[in-house]
């Protein structure tokens, strides 16, 4: 499959350390970051807890999109399909079956994963732009179906039972666990032979197939994993929003948010979507909450600047700049030593 410049993160292709060691190191760093976030939640007030919960859900959403779009090169415009399906599954199991939020969320994730597997059969026959359009069409079809389906209350929407929604601290922890799970999945995928094969498929699927990689199988797995992770994030959003309608949960805005976060942060990297989620949700959306039009303007402006000048995204740019600076410093020190007159 032909890939665009956006989908390539040059430094992510050739790791300097062996895969397993890099993966373990990254997972260790993730555990430390999780502990730090947990501590922040302990000392932070209601504002930090609320902000953190949504931010973590966006990190999971962006990471899930990145696994599909950044790692395997399949540009999906169907994030809303999985957010919506999972949120509705959660709300319906909680209201109709009396389940608590945890089995409801697991059910949401499972249904989103199943939907993903179901959609994979027709969609994986499509390539490039056609795949993207196919995912968009599936989302629009689901939105229209839910808008007219009596079982899900049509366009009047559904609600999660308020008394079953966890408190703010618990929601923060749930959001954090979901984000850690999504980032952990990305690390495991990225720094494993599975991930290397995925990158090979992204760069040239024909070459990968000739080398014996089961291209369809890998794409199916990655699509299901991405769908399940989006489903998990959708569960957190459902608990935060409490009541929702099809037009909100199957909206195109979920895809746009995830895509913008990943492109700004760095597509095909593990850290990039986290950086992007923080930059977009915390740096723009929250800071400009009183000015929604300006918020969109700045989001679009930042996206244009990134695409034009730093097409790999912010995180690869930071890493590259830091590496070059270190190299420049090393060269400068070496040349200074070389030109220094020998001491007596």
């Amino acid at each position: 499959m032909a890939t665009t410049a956006l989908s390539r993160a040059p430094e992510s292709v050739a790791p300097a350390l062996p895969l397993r060691r890099r993966g373990i190191a990254a997972l260790g760093a993730l555990v430390l970051a999780g502990a730090a976030c947990l501590a922040l939640g302990e000392v932070g007030g209601a504002g930090v807890l609320s902000l953190g919960t949504t931010l973590f859900a966006y990190v999971a959403l962006a990471q899930a999109w990145n696994i599909l779009g950044g790692f395997s090169g399949q540009m999906s415009l169907g994030v809303g399909a999985f957010v919506g399906t999972s949120a509705y599954t959660m709300a319906l199991t909680m209201t109709r079956l009396g389940w608590s939020w945890l089995p409801g969320m697991v059910a949401g994730m499972a249904v989103a994963g199943s939907l993903s597997a179901l959609l994979a059969f027709p969609l994986l026959r499509l390539k490039g732009d056609y795949f993207a359009v196919g995912t968009l069409a599936a989302t629009l079809a689901l939105d229209a179906w839910f808008d007219n389906w009596s079982f899900v209350n049509k366009s009047m929407g559904v609600s999660v039972p308020i008394q079953a929604v966890p408190g703010q601290t618990e929601m923060y922890v749930i959001g954090l666990v979901v984000a850690l799970f999504a980032v952990g999945s990305a690390i495991v995928m990225r720094w494993s032979t599975f991930g290397v094969r995925l990158l090979a498929i992204r760069e040239d699927d024909l070459a990968a197939r000739l080398l014996g990689v089961n291209v369809s199988g890998y794409r199916l797995v990655v699509m299901v994993v991405s769908g399940m992770l989006i489903g998990l994030a959708g569960g957190v959003f459902a608990l935060s929003l409490v009541s929702f309608v099809p037009d909100g949960m199957f909206a195109m805005s979920w895809t746009i948010e995830a895509l913008v976060m990943v492109v700004i942060g760095g597509m095909g990297t593990v850290i990039g979507p986290i950086v992007g989620a923080v930059a977009v949700y915390y740096g723009i959306t929250t800071e400009l909450a009183n000015f929604p039009t300006l918020s969109l303007f700045f989001e679009g402006g930042l996206l244009l600047v990134i695409v034009r000048f730093v097409p790999g995204g912010l995180w690869p740019f930071v890493v590259r700049t830091a590496r070059r600076s270190l190299e420049w410093c090393g060269t400068a020190i070496r040349s200074a030593r070389a030109t220094r007159p020998p001491s007596s």
């Binding site: 007030g45 808008d147 609600s159 008394q163 929003l241 409490v242 400009l288 929604p292 700045f298 000048f309």
Partner: protein, 412 residues
């Protein structure tokens, strides 16, 4: 220095400048807005409202802002709200949810957790208000809203609302009043119903059917559609073929404007048209122009209703705002009155005490008498207005000296 190096340096400088500009823009706006809230925070309380200031409900949301701000400004001009012997200025924080339910829910949460709002005022229509009411219930923060028909709002929480309250009319009254007004004009008594599938539209459709049948009319077409729909040609053709001369409906303003324009272009000229929610704001006239002449509009306030404070409202706002804007803004003014008076009566900003004070509300406000029922709704009157030359006049219940103009001139 090579040409390539110069080009690269120029690119880096340009990209850096753009980044800096974006960051500076965000920083300046954030600093300006936080500065404003810091200034207001000295001996003040914060009330939050997430309103649909843009999007399909933009017209209603803008009128809501006028109503809420007017009451808060009145109280602040009088020295602030008296709570437990001290006076506090009210800092009203209004956010724009762009008519999106998910944003409305997120903003309601942010207003409480980030901005420290002790109570919330709601947005228009159940689609926006119910998610906000859920958040208020979850966070145990009093929430007073309007522009939500009572039964649609009251039944939205199966377990019953605890912290959410709504001041508006009942759907049944609405249906009966509309059916009676429709029969003021001579027609063949054939009715076409157009309702979207939002909570209030779904609630209203069977009530409209029952009400028009009770008045001896015949429903010749019932058309339902999801809220974003703006293409009605097949419905209009069907209603025209069935010979409908009365069109009654409930839908978003964007849908209503599209419907009337398409009726005109398809040569469908009913004698009576009233599209609840769609025709409720100034945007109706802006969107349709003279095409709107003769169409009906639902009102919860009108100068002819002679509610308390009407002369004061007309004196203060009458020169600046049209009657249709006032008709839409005064209910919000009334809802804000209910909340602020309850806070004052509670003598505390404690959510439980304010909530208990709201429950005990029983008195006259700008929208008439307010007393909450068990389902946390307070019933206001339902009046029908008619658009004539860009202005709205109350036509039902009848007002001395005012006659309903029949047939609807805009479509002729």
């Amino acid at each position: 220095m090579s040409v390539m190096t110069v080009r690269r340096a120029t690119r880096v400088i340009f990209a850096g400048s753009l980044f800096a500009l974006l960051a500076a823009g965000i920083g300046t706006i954030t600093a300006a807005s936080s500065g404003a809230s810091t200034r207001a925070s000295t001996r003040s309380i914060t009330i939050g409202a997430s309103l649909p200031l843009t999007g399909p409900l933009g017209g209603l949301g803008s009128d809501q802002e006028i109503g809420y701000r007017a009451e808060v400004n009145d109280v602040n001009r009088a020295g602030g709200i008296k709570i437990g012997g001290s006076k506090y200025k009210i800092n009203l924080t209004i956010l724009n949810n762009a008519s999106t339910a998910t944003t409305a829910s997120n903003q309601a949460r942010a207003l409480v957790t980030r901005d420290g709002a002790i109570a919330l005022l709601g947005g228009a229509t159940p689609t926006i208000s119910v998610p906000q009411a859920d958040v208020a219930t979850l966070l145990h923060v009093p929430f007073v809203t309007t522009n939500n028909p009572d039964d649609a709002f009251g039944s939205a929480n199966a377990k019953g609302w605890k912290y959410a309250w709504d001041v508006f009319f009942k759907e049944e009254t609405q249906a009966k009043t509309v059916a009676k007004w429709a029969n003021v004009c001579p027609s063949n008594k054939k009715v076409a119903l157009f309702n979207d599938t939002e909570k209030d539209g779904t609630f209203e459709r069977p009530l409209y059917e029952a009400a028009v049948k009770a008045d001896g009319d015949r429903v010749v077409g019932t058309y339902t559609f999801p809220p974003p729909t703006t293409t009605f040609s097949s419905f209009i053709t069907s209603a025209k073929a069935a010979g409908a001369q009365i069109v009654i409906g409930q839908m978003l303003p964007t849908a209503g404007i599209a419907l009337v324009k398409q009726m005109k272009s398809l040569g469908f000229h009913p004698d009576v048209v009233i599209l609840a929610k769609a025709a409720n704001a100034e945007n109706w006239w802006k969107g349709l122009g003279s095409l709107a002449t003769g169409s009906g509009m639902e009102l919860t306030w009108s100068p002819a209703a002679h509610y308390p404070g009407t002369p004061q409202i007309l004196k203060t706002w009458g020169k600046k705002l049209s009657v249709d804007t006032l008709a839409s803004a005064v209910p919000d003014f009334g809802a804000a009155q209910v909340l602020l008076q309850a806070i004052s009566r509670a003598g505390s900003t404690s959510a439980a005490k304010v909530n208990a004070a709201i429950a005990k509300t029983n008195g006259m406000f700008a929208v008439g008498h307010v007393k909450f029922l068990k389902n946390h709704t307070a019933v206001t009157r339902y009046l029908v207005g008619q658009w004539t030359h860009g202005k709205v006049v109350q036509v039902y219940p009848p007002v001395p000296g005012v006659k309903t103009e029949c047939p609807m001139a805009g479509l002729r």
